[in-house]
Symmetry: C2
Subunit: 169 residues, 2 copies
Amino acid sequence: MTPMRKRTHTVMTTVIVATLLAVAIAARTRQDASISFPDSYRTWAHVKSVVVGPTSAAFATEGGIHHIYANPSAVDGYRTGKFPDGAIIVYDLLETKEAAGNLLEGAPRRLDVMIKDRRRFAANEGWGFASFKGGERTGGDLSPERQRKCLDCHAKRRDHDYVQSAFRD
Amino acid sequence: MTPMRKRTHTVMTTVIVATLLAVAIAARTRQDASISFPDSYRTWAHVKSVVVGPTSAAFATEGGIHHIYANPSAVDGYRTGKFPDGAIIVYDLLETKEAAGNLLEGAPRRLDVMIKDRRRFAANEGWGFASFKGGERTGGDLSPERQRKCLDCHAKRRDHDYVQSAFRD
């Protein structure tokens, strides 16, 4: 190998290694920030429910009945006001249907998740947010900007560790 | 002791022993059939919810929002259609209040319990029933006749082990 070829080879090797490293770090970061569907949430504690009716200002996006669920770590958080890492809260929004004067639960409309992990979501006060379309169990990840918007709205309850709801006793 | 006194003594002893036995058996039976308030039900799985409105035929007694909760054994029952001993289901009826177009949970109205125990409630197809007035945690016991009436109404779901509700997935 000539000195010229040797330098070219070294440069190429460096570029390849650097590229592979960058790809690996990006993949790790993506995986690290991804929030999977909380498969077991239907056996978690039920925090509270609200029916958002047609005259509510929030009807367009939140109309229906929503239930809030908390995993055991989040139940501790509701009791102490500080949510430990691993706490997960689900906002489960369903359509409603009327039958003989009763309002029944209908099709799933949207399922939002907030999860506490001070390392993974350090840039967002420790809270990661995801949002799954009605009935879907994948594709819930939100961009950092969208997650920041979630947090901004939750910031009115900064005194309650950014969790808006209270556990109905 | 004369023979007369001896006989009297024997009769008295027998009466006392029999009375004590009867009292003990009655107490045991009462205790055995008593259903205590399910203290931990707010962390159990949430089966489903219904809002019973003013135009519903059931409004007088069931008006409001009710949530149904199941302990882990009852969750198994919902999945298999057969409820094991120890399964407990709670029907939690709350008043509702309106605020800015939203229907919120209000004060507790009544809390009904059904519990599966094929030995204790053998006379009632294995199901014991209790009903606690709004916010009260004692005084939920019902007479055998009242419990039979509960079961009679639940009998329309005999194919589902007398449980009327289905677990919302």
